[in-house]
């Protein structure tokens, strides 16, 4: 098939990226016949698709979130396994983003395209590390694609949380953390820092923590916030979804120090807008150095850039002789990551 271009068989549609020869959508934003889902975050995994291909962990997360609507027919595909769909071979490879997160490796007519979904490169005790795959086209996210985003060492961020708990022992520390991935990773990091007391959870975080535990990721003693005296939270650490930080829910805590674990906390204006007192720069997305190192590592001559700050990454890639362009995909948000 001389002259076949990658965009001839992987196309941008209003439902998302579509692999035409396999009639397969990747992270579709509207319900489709056949989908492959990179990971369980709500802007990538949506309910209502008929057949869904994903890692067993991602399928479990979708079932926990959507129940029956997760998929009419779920097809698990473990990391490294391959599946032939018509003329296309599909393989899932760890992306290092959250539990179950995968890059989708598509091979067709001697070409290989990797759709990396969301990813990061640093260690995460709750999921296997990103594996670079050499390819002809690499499709990358660009959430933190500006050179101002260089995430610091996460152990240092957790140390500042524990130092604050020591300095304000009469106050609770309320940490906003996205319910899938960030919360569990943060819990593991807090445990690694030596904090073995119970951690207190907003009810909305419970189910996914249980799911992580069931997948063998130990989180230590976790207790619900509900049903306890205000005074009991002095000197304790409480985790809640970001939206609950300034919610009326937070009034049950004694004068809480509000913290937030997110890559956005790097920029002061963003942290201030959220009314955060203790920003913790902990991200599940690649920072600038990770993004650029990854592009160099996979060595793709062509890069497609999706959601985030595409312009800067496209500019950087062009400067290195990589053909780069921004894909405008709808339905992706600056999540509370």
């Amino acid at each position: 098939m001389a002259g076949l271009r990658p965009e001839d068989w992987l196309k941008t549609t209003d439902r998302g990226l579509w692999c035409a020869p396999a009639d397969l959508y990747i992270d579709p934003v509207r319900a489709v016949e056949r989908a492959v889902v990179t990971h369980g975050h709500a802007d990538h995994a949506r309910p209502g698709n008929r057949r869904v291909l994903a890692t067993p962990e991602t399928l479990a997360i979708m079932r926990a979130r959507y129940g029956e609507a997760a998929a009419r027919q779920a097809q698990p595909l473990g990391y490294g396994e391959t599946l032939d769909l018509d003329d296309v071979t599909v393989r899932l490879v760890p992306a290092g983003h959250v539990l179950g997160s995968a890059q989708v490796v598509l091979e067709h007519a001697g070409q290989r395209i990797v759709v990396s979904g969301d990813y990061k490169r640093r260690r995460d005790p709750t999921c296997p590390a990103f594996e670079p795959v050499a390819c002809d086209v690499f499709v990358t996210e660009a959430t933190f694609a500006l050179p101002v985003f260089r995430h610091p060492d996460d152990a240092g961020e957790v140390a500042s949380l524990l130092a604050s708990v020591a300095l304000f022992p009469e106050r609770a520390h309320l940490v906003g953390a996205y319910g899938l991935g960030k919360a569990q990773r943060l819990i593991r990091l807090i445990r690694e820092a030596g904090w073995d007391r119970p951690l207190y959870l907003h009810g909305a975080l419970r189910a996914l923590c249980d799911l992580y535990e069931a997948h063998g990721i130990g989180l230590g003693p976790l207790e619900p916030v509900a049903g306890r005296d205000r005074a009991a939270f002095a000197g304790e650490i409480v985790l809640a979804p970001p939206g609950s930080l300034t919610d009326r829910w937070s009034r049950r805590l004694p004068d809480p120090v509000t913290a937030m674990a997110s890559g956005w906390m790097r920029v002061r204006q963003r942290a201030k807008q959220r009314g955060v007192e203790l920003p913790l720069i902990i991200s599940d997305h690649a920072d600038w150095d990770e993004l650029t190192a990854t592009l160099e590592e996979v060595g793709a001559p062509e890069v497609w850039v999706t959601h985030g700050r595409e312009e800067a990454l496209v500019h950087w890639a062009a400067g290195r002789g990589i053909r780069a362009r921004a894909l405008s995909l709808i339905g992706r948000e600056d999540e509370d990551e």
């Binding site: 500042s160 829910w249 937070s250 004068d255 204006q269 807008q273 800067a312 400067g319």
Partner: protein, 522 residues
């Protein structure tokens, strides 16, 4: 530098005063000399590096990324120092500097050396450290800590009285080794004899409603509508201090010129209306504000708003400390002092003549018409005691102005109030539209706050981040001290000290005040 950077970083995000005090006190206790002393000087605004210029920093920043990436980054972050701090890359092998090393080197450095020094330090620091360094160098930390708050924290750190620290403050120099030694119990109290240092003010309590006092025991004076100041002159050194103990001499050379004496006076700083120089009345507080918060003052400003002082009290006559004398005696000394060292720009505060309480009340009722802030009532036998001692001095302010205004926007508070819509913007009618006239976040009880929060949530029209626009239905009776023309506000008016006096759940919004009514109060 790392600890100092962490401190600044925390302070920026900490809204509550107590939280800030705790962070500062903790830092002062565990940081060695001289780093903590330099940090204190940075916080109190007593550090200046004339050879370090913001322009040089800008040039350094642009060398760090290519033009497109720099522009995209700056556009996203919005702050040049922060953008630079984030773009710069830590070099492995470069050592992070100590705060003391940075300050000492910058004070010695010539203009051409600054760039190389700064660049080397940026290499060794992390992003937070770089941000703190750039803030330190370019001046104006803007982290919501006043010099006074830093001194209160210092007192808290070492279990000392802040008044004692204030007394020695202007006689010590950064990095304050002698001050920390004394506070830590390892040295003598710094000697302030012979120096024009600040002496803590004696303050008044508000007079409670319905209280009547016998003028035989109380000295009655106007409460002037200016700012309280202390004039300290000793051994040729002349200084003017604000109520918080900040040295504001540089902004008021005209007042310093009038201080041809040796002693310490307590008084009110006012400005004259140059169009009416003979008047016994000062220009408005609004006019005085033109002269405040300036590092220097232009000739034009001096001519347009000439400053003078109305003296209330005398603390020192030469070296003699008069603070233990009763007020009546100090007043005699003040009058004699003024007669001896008189200057037209230092007037005496008049003793008001009121034989009985009804006469005092009649004076208070006149205060607004005369442009005074109210009355002061001071026990004739009171010693001059620092701080706010009960039962010795009272202030009886003029009655506030009142207006009925409609709630327009509500904003989430900070810290303890971060889950409550507690900051209210209200407006009055101009024709058929509401124009905002002020903003208030106190004057209501906790119970009323909970009611207001509920009301805001149930009557929201639009949300803009932490702000909600609400239905224009709820009327506040707003109390305020005065109202001034202000080109910065859409209504053309700005209130001084507005607070919510009552929530008028019963009053229809259409019956709230009109702008014309407020304009008449200017």
């Amino acid at each position: 530098m790392k600890d100092f950077a962490a401190l600044l970083d925390r302070l920026v995000y900490t809204p509550s005063r107590n939280g800030k005090l705790r962070l500062l006190a903790d830092y002062f206790r565990r940081t060695p000399d001289p780093d903590r002393g330099w940090a204190l000087a940075a916080l109190t605004g007593d550090l200046d590096f004339p050879n370090a210029k913001a322009g040089a920093i800008r040039d350094l920043a642009r060398e760090q990324a290519d033009e497109v990436l720099f522009a995209l980054s700056y556009d996203y972050v919005g702050d040049l120092a922060e953008t630079t701090a984030l773009l710069w890359q830590t070099q492995s092998g470069a050592e992070p500097p100590r705060l003391a090393g940075v300050v000492e080197a910058l004070r010695r450095a010539g203009r051409t050396e600054v760039r190389g020094l700064v660049s080397g330090w940026l290499d060794g620091l992390d992003a937070t450290g770089r941000w703190a360094l750039l803030k330190l160098i370019t001046g104006g930390l803007r982290i919501g800590v006043s010099a006074r708050l830093a001194r209160v924290a210092l007192a808290q750190a070492f279990d000392a009285a802040v008044e004692e620290i204030e007394e020695v403050w202007h006689a010590v120099e950064p990095p304050y080794g002698d001050l920390f030694a004394w506070l830590a119990g390892d040295g003598e109290k710094p000697d302030v004899a012979g120096r024009a240092t600040f002496r803590p003010f004696m303050l008044a309590h508000p007079l409670e409603e319905g209280v009547a006092l016998d003028p035989a025991d109380w000295l009655v004076e106007w409460k002037w509508d200016g700012i309280r100041v202390q004039l300290a002159a000793r051994g040729g050194e002349r200084r003017l201090y604000s109520r918080t103990g900040d040295d504001i001499s540089a902004a008021f050379p005209d007042v310093l010129d009038a201080m041809g004496f040796d002693g310490v006076l307590d008084g009110e700083l006012l400005v004259r209306d140059p169009a009416d120089p003979g008047s016994a009345d000062p220009a408005s507080f609004n006019a005085l504000q033109q002269r405040l918060n300036r590092k220097t003052v232009s000739k034009k400003m001096l001519a347009a708003h000439p400053a003078y002082v109305v003296a209330y009290d005398i603390l020192f006559d030469g070296a003699a400390d008069l603070r233990d004398l009763p007020l009546e005696k100090r007043r005699e000394r003040l009058e004699a002092f003024a007669a001896q060292h008189g200057h037209p720009d230092i007037e005496l505060s008049a003793r008001l003549d009121a034989p009985d309480w009804p006469a005092v009340a009649a004076l208070q009722a006149e205060a607004r018409r005369l442009g005074r802030e109210g009355l002061m009532l001071k026990r004739r036998d009171s010693r001059y005691e620092p701080g706010r001692k009960t039962g010795l001095w009272f202030k009886w302010k003029r009655a506030p102005l009142l207006a009925d205004a409609v709630l327009m926007y509500a904003q989430r508070g900070h810290g303890r109030r971060s889950s409550f819509y507690s900051d209210y913007t209200f407006g009055v009618w101009r024709g058929g539209e509401l124009v905002p006239v002020g903003k208030a976040y106190f004057g209501f009880t906790d119970e009323e706050l909970a009611q207001l929060d509920r009301w805001v949530r149930n009557h929201t029209l639009n949300r803009f981040g932490p702000v909600r626009e609400v239905e224009k239905r709820l009327v506040f009776e707003v109390a305020f001290d005065s109202i001034h023309p202000s080109p910065r506000h859409k209504s053309g008016l700005a209130m001084r000290f507005p607070r919510i006096a009552r929530i008028r759940w019963d009053k229809p919004a259409g019956e709230a005040d009109r702008i014309e009514a407020l304009e008449a109060m200017v």
